[in-house]
């Protein structure tokens, strides 16, 4: 051990490191020094760098030096270190790992976890007698902060450790945690924060997240000590009427983004970066066979994957969706003549089963695990020496973090294979490989804090103790995602929490939080606090429904009885779109949907050799990153790049150039061609499935208006195909500028606004905001059946609110979500801007090689439409057909 490090560590710790034959790493000592200097710090390090120990080392040293408390009521010691992890399992895992050094050094440190599973007597005791180190999740932190004892509980806090920060900050959970952190820093100004993160594109975003953001002196709007200006809008009758809805070019998009921009500068935590050791050894799996033009099963690659598993010690096989996991697992077992221990792990499987797989994995008893993103986070899975990623990588950072999973010794290169499932995925894998070699990152931008999350936080704040509005505003703005929050928006959120915040002030007497004569806001009664506790959190699970194997009735043929075993659960919205007779893949087999009986989906086994009809559309869960999309377009546009592609790919691209053309990197190619008695239009924006779905919805509206009678469209990550009974090509030839008009940015004005009125995706988005903000109560599985639970359809609420108060804070929250979430409107907006004046329309006699790929989605993917009358007319016609037959 070097002299410098020796001098920086207490003897107990030096001895312990030595006894293990280790040497403290430089970044671990750096973090120790930062802590001594009272600095908050972001540690960016690859997997296997000893990040967790680095995060805790300063706490362990301080606690060891402090010595044991007497534990008496008089000498009551507060919590010293709070650790937050995105996963309950990770918190438990880290607690276990932390116990080892503490016990081996005989340190007087009490470590406890607090999760949803912690029994109530233990929770009560933790409040009464706080441990030295508490490991928990963002939701549990929110609950602790809403506790009446929160002030006392946190007042001695010295350090907050935020694990896997890069994954936490990308969602509303990150917003909730940011607000919690801001509160913690108010309660314990002496505390410092440590963020542990994988490599990200903009470390400064995370550095800002860790420390309170400072602001210019308060805006003049509210100089007068809470009188007049500030609360005027909250007084009954004085609130100004909401703006009438603006309509016009880009207005809706602008409103979606209007939630405020984060300061470019702001206060930063210190930064410690650990350079990755060896370059990962990563390559594309190349086959002699031709890959299909579409599809995500990678069936041709299974024998090669099986061989790789055989050659390695332990392999993680990552796939993008649950159904891909099912399929891959099944295919590998078909090949498994050697009886290798290959297991399956995904989110819909029974929890007990998942735990068994995780334990077997940690114990080194498994040869391979086929898994989805549920295994993505940093739990230590033992000695993985190979990662195989089946299907599209979707993002460069995403794939690097996955590969980081392999090989926890950071000085040896990680081994990984990317396995494309179709030809487009070859391009995507090529682009991802380039990015990995350049260590280019494409993690998402920092979030602007969501208003629905803020509403939840305000109610929680009121549950803890009374507060002054101005103080809370300052505190909230010290959280980086909310640094740009305007006072008007803050006020709107407070008004929402109190009475719903409607221009028509009808609910004053039912207010949930009220301002007392002392100027302090407090929660009305214990019942409201109870309501808060039940609704805390930002994860609105889609309701799951059980899948049960049915038996055909002997006495009544054609009737299926719920007599078989339970297979698992699927999302309710997926079940809703199934028609009897549809087949789909689940729990390792092809099932036939029979009926929904009571609250279960009844299925039978489909005959052997049946292809599942209904694919999972979850492939779109992670859309292709903008960064990779741009690279894919560049590869397509530049024939010199083609040398680096497999020959089958080059051949295909040459054919496309002969029969149609290949667009430049910034152009949009639109092809039209007749087929059967329909007219097709395809285009390739490469903006991800979600943005394409929105584009398709808007294009069909415009084609409808142009009387071209669109019949439907399909979308994938790369492009869309619209089909119509009207001849689009002829119209475009007759009207110059037709295509430019069709794809013009003003579709994000009225057309978008009209579609949002009925869009089922928008309604789902609104429902999530309504639940998070606390407008309606969370439904718990099984509860809705008791009948005692009063529920209201948020779709009805959406319709009414949209009509009467289109600028209400909840609608603004939902629009902000739609800009980046299920509708990805922002990305569509950027794309439309990019292609302005760069649309190349190519009328063809028949389908081009490029277009075949998206055409293949027809029949495989569902057709999108929110037009109720169309569906009903079709159902009515079916009745007539029946009558005439």
């Amino acid at each position: 051990m070097s002299k410098t490090s020796a001098s920086r560590l207490p003897k107990t710790f030096r001895d312990w490191f030595e006894s293990r034959g280790w040497e403290p790493r430089e970044h671990q000592l750096q973090l120790l020094a930062k802590a001594k200097a009272g600095r908050s710090v972001l540690l960016v390090a690859p997997t296997g760098a000893g990040k967790t120990l680095a995060g805790f080392l300063p706490s362990l040293v301080e606690l060891a030096e402090r010595g044991p408390g007497r534990g008496t009521a008089k000498d009551k010691r507060g919590l010293h270190t709070l650790y937050i992890s995105p996963l309950k399992a990770l918190a438990t895992d880290v607690a276990r790992n932390l116990e080892t050094p503490v016990q081996e050094m005989g340190l007087p440190i009490r470590i406890e976890t607090r999760t949803g599973d912690t029994p109530s007597h233990k929770r009560a005791r933790q409040i009464e007698r706080p441990p030295d180190i508490l490991l928990t999740t963002p939701e549990q932190l929110a609950l602790l902060l809403a506790h009446r004892e929160a002030t006392e509980f946190f007042q001695d806090l010295r350090r907050v450790v935020l694990d896997e920060l890069h994954s936490l900050v990308t969602s509303k959970r990150g917003d909730l945690l940011a607000l919690g952190l801001a509160r913690l820093m108010s309660l314990a100004p002496q505390a410092t924060a440590v963020g542990l993160s994988a490599t990200v594109r903009e470390p400064d975003d995370l550095r800002r997240y860790l420390v309170p953001q400072r602001h210019e002196p308060s805006p003049p709007l509210w100089g007068r000590d809470g009188e007049g200006g500030v609360s005027a809008n909250l007084e009954p009758g004085k609130r100004r009427h909401p703006h009438p809805p603006h309509k016009g070019e880009g207005e809706t998009l602008r409103r979606m983004e209007a939630a405020g921009q984060t300061d470019a500068n702001g206060t930063l935590a210190d930064l410690v970066v650990v350079k990755g050791g060896a370059q990962p050894d990563i390559r594309m799996l190349e086959l002699d066979e031709r890959l299909p033009l579409a599809g995500h099963t990678a069936s041709l690659s299974m024998p090669a994957i099986y061989e790789l598993i055989k050659q390695h010690k332990t392999t993680l096989v990552f796939v993008n969706t649950r159904l891909q996991a099912e399929y891959t697992f099944q295919e590998l077992w078909k090949l498994n003549d050697d009886g290798l221990a290959i297991a399956l792990h995904h989110g819909s499987l029974d929890v007990a089963q998942r735990r068994r797989v995780e334990e077997a994995m940690a114990a080194g008893r498994l040869k391979a695990v086929v898994c989805t993103a549920t295994l993505d986070l940093g739990i230590d899975w033992g000695d993985v020496d190979l990662v195989v990623n089946v299907g599209a990588p979707k993002g460069a950072s995403r794939i690097m973090q996955r590969i980081g999973r392999s090989n926890h010794r950071m000085d040896e290169p990680s081994q990984a294979y990317l396995v494309p499932a179709n030809r487009f995925e070859i391009l995507e894998c090529r682009a991802a490989l380039d990015a990995v070699h350049e260590a280019a990152q494409d993690t998402p931008d920092a979030r602007t804090g969501a208003l629905d999350v803020l509403c939840q936080h305000i109610l929680g704040r009121a549950c803890a103790d009374p507060f002054r509005l101005e103080d809370l505003y300052e505190e909230v703005r010290s959280a980086a995602p909310y640094a740009g929050l305007s006072y008007e928006d803050f006020e709107a959120c407070v008004a929402f929490v109190a009475t719903g915040g409607y221009a028509l002030r009808a609910y004053e007497r039912f207010a949930k939080i009220v301002k007392g004569n002392d100027g302090l806001w407090r929660v009305r009664d214990g019942r409201v606090a109870q309501q808060y506790r039940l609704n805390v959190g930002t994860i609105v699970e889609s309701t799951m429904i059980k899948v049960r194997l049915g038996k055909t009735s002997r006495s009544r043929p054609g009737t299926v009885l719920p007599r078989g075993r339970l297979l698992g659960e699927i999302e309710e919205y997926f079940a809703e779109t199934l028609t009897p007779g549809d087949t789909f893949l689940f729990a390792g087999e092809v099932l036939r949907f029979e009926a929904i009986a009571e609250d279960e989906v009844l299925v039978t086994r489909a005959g052997s050799g049946t292809d599942p009809m209904i694919p999972s559309y979850e492939g779109g869960k992670f859309p292709l990153s903008t960064f990779l999309a741009a690279r894919v377009r560049e590869i397509l546009a530049d024939p010199f790049e083609w040398d680096r592609l497999p020959p089958q790919m080059t051949e295909w691209l040459l054919q496309q150039r002969r029969r149609s053309l290949l667009p430049g990197a910034r152009d949009l190619l639109v092809e039209t061609f007749p087929r059967g008695n329909r007219f097709y239009m395809t285009c390739f924006p490469f903006e991800g499935r979600l943005a394409h779905q929105t584009l398709g919805m808007l294009l069909t509206r415009r084609l409808e208006r142009a009387r071209l009678k669109p019949l439907g469209f399909v979308a994938n990550d790369y492009g869309i195909a619209v089909y119509a009974s009207g001849d689009i090509a002829t119209r475009a030839a007759r009207e110059p500028g037709f295509m430019d008009e069709l794809f013009s940015e003003d579709m994000l004005g009225d057309d978008l606004e009209d579609w949002l009125a009925e869009s089922s995706l928008m309604k789902r988005t609104f429902r999530q905001c309504a639940v998070i903000a606390g407008l309606i109560e969370r439904r718990f599985p099984g509860e809705q059946k008791t009948g005692r639970q009063v529920t209201i359809s948020t779709d009805l609420v959406y319709d009414v609110l949209r009509k009467h108060e289109p600028d209400h804070v909840l609608l603004r929250a939902a629009r902000a979500d739609a800009a980046t979430g299920l509708l990805d409107v922002r990305r569509l907006g950027v794309m439309l801007q990019r292609i302005r004046g760069r649309i190349i329309h190519k009328p063809l006699d028949r389908v081009s090689p490029l277009s075949v790929s998206v055409m293949l989605e027809i029949g495989r993917e569902r057709v999108y439409s929110d037009n109720a009358d169309e569906i009903l007319a079709e159902a009515e016609a079916a009745l007539l057909d029946e009558a005439l037959a």
């Binding site: 409607y502 028509l504 809703e576 009926a595 009358d869």
Partner: protein
């Protein structure tokens, strides 16, 4: 003008116990023989009812429902309007009705007969709300009441808030609907916050032992859908 629009929008006709009945896009049912408009389950003040329990739903549901009601009444201009029960979400509803809504309601009632049939949510209605209050009544061959009663008697009722769900090639839609077998008609709920019960629910079975046709309310018109085409939720 009114007559023209009347013809254009309300041509969805059915026969009910020997009478002609016109199903309106609003969810109302018009009986030309009596010049009577029937509406069901208005659930006025449901929003404020929830607000009392801490769920601050937008307080515009009554206004929205009244607008729909005012629209169909002005289009059809019936001699009598009969509300088939659960017109208010709870007994305190009439009390909470805002001034503006109260005067809109009075305007809709003016110049015509108005009958409130009581329902399980509004067993008692104050006199100040205008019109007559009855528990049930007959109109020609039809009995009008809130809760349907299984049996051979021809009736029009509400209470169950039927909705029909249709899935065609993976696309689903769920809409309010009238259910009828030619003798009985269960009306859709008109209230803006009135949820729906799927027409496939067991509750409808004893009422229609020989099946029914569902008349689903679309955006532009009403669609007659066979029971076999309806899906469960």
């Amino acid at each position: 003008m009114t007559a023209l629009r009347k013809n254009k929008q309300t041509t969805h006709e059915i026969e009910l116990a020997g009478q002609l009945a016109i199903l309106d896009l609003s969810g109302g049912l018009y009986l030309p023989a009596h010049d009577a408009l029937l509406v069901a389950d208005l659930h006025f003040e449901k929003g404020s009812s929830f607000a009392r329990r801490g769920m601050m739903l937008p307080p515009y549901d009554t206004r929205e429902t009244l607008d729909a009601l005012a629209d169909v009444v002005s289009r059809l201009d019936p001699r009598v309007v009969i509300a088939l029960g659960d017109s208010f979400h709870d007994i305190g509803g009439p009390e909470r009705l805002g001034d503006e809504e109260r005067s809109t309601l009075a305007g809709v009632q003016a110049g015509r007969e108005w009958i409130w049939v009581t329902g399980n949510h509004d067993r008692i209605l104050p006199e100040t709300i205008g019109g007559q209050v009855v528990e049930e009544m007959t109109l020609g061959s039809l009995t009008l009441r809130h809760e349907p009663v299984a049996g051979d008697q021809a009736e029009v009722a509400g209470h169950l808030h039927p909705v029909g769900k249709v899935v065609m090639r993976g696309r689903a839609t769920r809409r309010r609907c009238f259910l009828t077998d030619g003798t009985r008609c269960i009306m859709p709920a008109l209230g803006a916050y009135a949820g729906g019960l799927n027409a496939c629910d067991a509750a409808f079975k004893p009422l229609f032992p020989n099946g029914f046709t569902a008349h689903l309310i679309g955006t532009e018109r009403i669609f007659a859908i066979a029971k076999t085409m309806l899906c469960r939720d």
